[in-house]
């Protein structure tokens, strides 16, 4: 039994594949922790699955880590509640982006998108009053990108409140704030009511973000499946039009194909019409992705799914920049292009190339 199967069987309640748990004990505790962390899934899931299988108590290292994960999730939810309350009181026009609907996701920070710079400043002031300090990132980051950390939380896990000046990953422009705000909705996350983008925009942002980081975690995929199956009439045409308009059809196509492959392989069902994918295949980069998936990922998808640099970085940089050429300012276009390669550098730094 592979580590991948353990991860899926313990994370996805709807997984219908029978997993033989006989050799779980032979798996190294460290590699289990790494696998779950890499996929942004709390180790609590492994423990509960292990208990359901009637297996012996796992190594103490795993129990400790699961406890840490639980505390982190709780701290994260508390932070979400606090920030949402502060923004609502200060009447800040905001949405929380990349909020994973899969409840066992380990989210590193809270990502906030404000309508414009004035709303962002309102939000920053609200956080300042609540004893937050602010940091900025130097390398290629937008001048208005700022992260907030509560001074009082020194003993607690480090959860940053990340302010995005717009829907952009590093400096790759993937959408317009006004579009996301026109379709925002109220959603309940662990008993906290928060503003989030519409299902289509939410899926779009997660897809483009994962693609920009050249990897999709299992949590990303479970979030996407939940969004599509939970939406009342998911608007596929809108999703395609947004992807085509902003030159991100490659990211959305790859994400949808992975969702479809996963769903077929582990849930025994297909939840999207083939036509919804075929429209993307008119683009050359999507056809390249399709042939890569056929060659490399047929049947055996290893999580997190790593996107080859030539597709997610080189081809994507040319495709995306050519689509927004003439619409974005020249300087933004240069930053946008460089962002692809910075993402590649960060992947190299993390030793993932």
């Amino acid at each position: 039994m592979s580590l991948n199967e353990v991860l899926i069987a313990s994370s996805d309640d709807s997984c219908n594949r029978n997993v033989d748990s006989l050799h779980v004990d032979e798996l190294d505790a460290k590699s289990i922790v790494r696998k779950f962390t890499d996929n942004k899934i709390s180790l609590e899931r492994f423990l509960s699955w292990n208990a359901r299988q009637g297996r012996q108590t796992p190594a103490s290292g795993l129990i400790d880590q699961a406890q840490k994960d639980r505390m982190f999730r709780q701290a994260w939810i508390k932070k979400l509640e606090l920030v949402s309350e502060l923004f609502t009181k200060a009447r800040v026009e905001h949405v929380f982006i990349k909020l994973m609907r899969y409840p066992w996701t380990l989210m590193q920070d809270l990502d906030v998108l404000a309508l414009d710079s004035a709303e962002q400043l309102k939000g920053i002031k609200a956080l300042d009053r609540a004893d937050f300090s602010f940091v900025q990132f130097r390398l290629l980051a937008h001048p208005l990108k700022v992260a907030a950390l509560r001074r009082a939380d020194k003993a607690e896990p480090r959860i940053l409140v990340d302010f995005y000046p717009g829907p952009m990953w590093i400096r790759k422009l993937v959408c317009d704030s006004v579009l996301i705000f026109a379709r925002k909705r109220l959603c309940r996350m662990s008993d906290v009511s928060v503003f989030v983008p519409s299902c289509e925009d939410d899926l779009y942002l997660v897809a483009t973000h994962g693609y920009n980081h050249l990897r999709f975690t299992l949590a990303d995929l479970l979030h996407g499946i939940d969004l599509i199956s939970g939406a009342n009439g998911f608007d596929w045409r809108y999703l395609f039009n947004v992807a085509e308009t902003y030159g991100t059809a490659d990211a959305v196509y790859l994400y949808l194909r992975l969702l479809e492959e996963y769903s077929k392989a582990f849930r025994g069902q297909s939840f999207m019409n083939e036509d919804n994918l075929e429209v993307y295949e008119k683009t050359r980069i999507c056809r390249t992705i399709s042939s890569w998936l056929k060659k490399e990922c047929s049947g055996q998808t290893e999580f997190p799914v790593r996107i080859p640099s030539r597709i997610g970085c080189v081809f994507s940089s040319f495709y995306h920049c050519s689509r927004i050429l003439g619409r974005a300012r020249a300087s933004d276009l240069i930053y946008d292009f460089s962002s692809h390669y910075l993402a590649l550098c960060s992947r190299a730094i993390l030793g993932e190339t």
């Binding site: 414009d116 920053i124 602010f134 940091v135 990132f137 390398l139 006004v178 308009t245 390669y341």
Partner: protein
């Protein structure tokens, strides 16, 4: 945070050393290749630029910390500085409305324009149908040969032109190409250039209407599959929104007084529907009050496009 800075500095040093040596080597190769191997020089220069970029990144990582604290005052200054930044990168999409005479195209285009005016679009309304420049001499000849004539509508005495090019095979073969040439020229100035310079074109009719006219006038139903037909359809820029308004011939006939006959509409309507099916164009039922047709257009088509949400 301290650990992160340490790692950044280490990475910066590595990047600096590796890109420095790569840069030296590439400069040497570029100098050797310059003027000898064109494509290799370009590739080598591109790699040199990339190395320079990496060098700068490495230098920046080495000198500065990747994160730096910022105060509220500094942030306020920055917000003031960047407040006037362009808000959207969303591009305008041309909207083409086509269909038989009396289907309500102009009314619907105006209703769409009213909503889009609330956004920051540079709107441009254009009527796109009859444009004849180079084909006028040919039309004169056809008039003399009796392939075109003016007829009088029995209903109201209004005059309308009738083209029966199909009566002569040579004329039927030449006419689409001549008319097509004029259409290309007019589309260049009325559609392509305005779209490229950022105008949101609202077009009353499009190349589909021209193709329908040509099919009727020459009775060549295979025209869409021919090279000329394909070239004409390629005049509709991609991406764009094309809407075919479909309406009963009787209703359309009742709406306008300059329509020759119901048969004239029936013939065209059939072709519109079959073309829309082939091209995968949206067909909207144009029967009923203008407001409900507009509602249908919005719900079935425009709501699926991001530009609609950025229009107030």
């Amino acid at each position: 945070m301290k650990c992160k800075i340490g790692r950044d500095k280490l990475v910066g040093l590595c990047l600096l050393l590796s890109s420095g040596s790569a840069l030296g080597y590439l400069l040497y190769s570029t100098a050797r290749l310059f003027g000898v191997y064109g494509i290799l020089t370009v590739l080598s220069s591109f790699a040199t630029v990339l190395s320079c970029g990496t060098l700068l990144v490495g230098l920046k990582l080495l000198v500065y910390e990747s994160e730096r604290p910022i105060t509220l005052d500094e942030m306020e200054d920055k917000v003031g500085k960047y407040a006037g930044e362009p808000k959207t990168i969303l591009s305008a999409l041309p909207i083409f409305m086509c269909g038989i005479d009396g289907s309500g195209k102009t009314t619907q285009i105006r209703m769409i324009a009213r909503r889009l005016k609330k956004g920051n679009w540079k709107l441009r309304y254009t009527w796109l149908r009859w444009v004849a420049l180079t084909c006028y001499p040919f039309l004169v000849l056809c008039r003399l040969l009796g392939y075109t004539c003016w007829r009088t509508n029995e209903r109201n005495g209004a005059k309308y032109p009738e083209h029966s090019f199909y009566r002569n095979r040579v004329v039927a073969a030449i006419w689409p190409y001549l008319f097509g040439l004029d259409t290309f020229a007019s589309h260049l100035f009325k559609v392509w250039i305005p779209t490229k310079i950022g105008y949101m074109g609202l077009y009353d009719r499009c190349a589909i209407d021209i193709l329908v006219d040509l099919i009727v006038e020459t009775r060549d139903t295979a025209l869409p599959e021919k090279l000329l037909g394909k070239l004409l359809l390629a005049l509709v820029p991609r991406p764009s929104i094309v809407i075919v308004l479909d309406i009963d011939e009787e209703t359309a006939y009742g709406r306008k007084s300059d329509i020759p006959s119901i048969e004239y509409l029936r013939q065209r309507r059939k072709i519109y529907i079959s073309l829309a099916r082939i091209l995968g164009v949206n067909v909207i039922d144009g029967n009923g009050p203008a407001e409900s047709v507009h509602q249908r257009i919005v719900e079935e088509i425009l709501l699926h496009y991001p530009l609609w949400y950025c229009s107030g």
